[in-house]
């Protein structure tokens, strides 16, 4: 399988990328790790005349932690997320989730920016970013702006990013307390049948803060506010967990596909959310 012909660009600055996007509009796409984009190019499901490689833009790489805020450059790979001990100290849920993405070869090149910006509801990072209440940083012809991850996803592959913008980084507050990212998949390398990210902070036996989000259970990632409302203020006992699981499953809206019919997916979602809450509770 060979893609259709295109022009290749390798700018060395964000301004250079934005200027090329302005020049070529819909005919251009940026490429990071390329493991979502190249397969669809090979199948000729997309028509791209200008491919803009972000590999030469050094400022898009790296992890920094400053005053409790974690900022990860868009071109940081999943492998780098997994192997960063400082990131693991600040937000251990990232390593737990990243290790469940694809396979080793894909994780060496797959980037956090590509994973969150593509808008594929099957990707894990968008759900994880809902859990972390992350902020996305976008650069475009009118400068930079930020969008909350929880406001970013509109529908499958439709996001708040404009065509002439690129996502440059994600940021979020370092976490404390318990965490878990649980994922059910048919085999290594598969997308989730259901996945869930959970953060829990306990204070004197009572849950003082929580976050629950779902991956691949709707056409966007789902932040489960109703489940959070159940958990916060509770002792996270079996009754509260059962009620939170029900709230999370009610917030899901999966479609039937090769991973199973809707009822099955909702059932798996319940199992996964329950496991994630239990795991986060045991670490809180």
């Amino acid at each position: 399988m060979v893609p259709g012909a295109f022009n290749y660009h390798r700018p060395d600055s964000v301004d250079g990328v934005v200027s090329l996007l302005g020049e070529w509009g819909d005919d251009a796409r940026v490429i990071a790790g390329g493991h979502s984009l190249i397969p669809v190019m090979k199948q000729r499901l997309t028509d791209i005349s200008h491919l803009i490689d972000l590999a030469g833009v050094d400022v898009l790489k790296g992890i920094s932690i400053d005053g409790g805020t974690v900022t990860i450059g868009a071109m940081t790979t999943q492998h780098e997320l997994i192997t960063s001990d400082t990131l693991h100290g600040a937000a251990p849920i990232i390593r737990e989730a990243s290790l469940q993405i694809a396979d080793p070869q894909v994780r060496y090149v797959g980037t956090i920016g590509g994973n969150v910006a593509n808008g594929d509801p099957a990707n894990d990072m968008p759900g994880l970013m809902q859990t972390l209440d992350a902020t996305y940083h976008l650069a475009g012809p009118n400068g930079v702006r930020t969008v909350a991850a929880r406001e970013f996803y509109e529908a499958a592959y439709f996001t708040a990013r404009e065509d002439d913008e690129i996502l440059t980084a994600v940021s979020f507050s370092a976490t404390s307390g318990g965490y878990a990212y649980e994922k059910q998949k048919r085999k290594i390398g598969d997308y989730a049948t259901a996945a869930a990210g959970v953060l829990l902070t306990m204070d004197g036996g009572v849950c003082s803060s929580a976050s629950v989000a779902l991956t691949n259970l709707s056409d966007t990632p789902v932040y489960c506010e109703a489940a959070v409302d159940v958990l916060v203020g509770s002792s996270v006992d079996d009754a509260a967990i059962a009620e939170a699981v029900k709230a999370a499953v009610d917030a899901s809206d999966p479609v039937a596909d090769t991973r199973g019919p809707v009822d099955f997916k909702k059932y798996v979602a319940g199992v996964i959310v329950k496991r994630a809450i239990h795991s986060a509770r045991s670490r809180a």
Partner: protein, 162 residues
Amino acid sequence: MEKMHVKMTVNGKNVDLLTEPRTLLIHALREELGITGPHVGCSSSHCGACTVDMNGMSVKSCTVFAAQAEGADITTIEGLGTPDALHVLQEMFKEHHGLQCGYCTPGMITRAYRLLQENPTPTEEEVRFGIAGNLCRCTGYQNIVKAILEAAAKMNDMKESA
């Protein structure tokens, strides 16, 4: 589309390719450079038969454009050992019958090479997790895992006695 120059180092040799931007790295290696160790298996980023080592990472060369490899240092199975001087991994695959049809083997060994560079003393579980991006359709995984674990032990012995 206009062809472009791509310079990279492949198995220690500097090469300068003149190729189309859409040329995939696996095709550049096999068809333009005659390096046929990396195989085309699924051509859809699943099977890992096309795995090469690029700048210290195991990558599926069917899902990388040659243009993206500009300036890269690439090692294929041909760069790990020769028929007269096999790499320890190749020796162990031979000794433990870590291959049946052999189609996945170059990718398996190239991946295992990087895995052992990063983790010289892996557990069996770590080996299995580490080669999860490589499929063997003969399903001969038991002996592949055995060969990699034995290779790790041998490489560590060699390091100690060096």
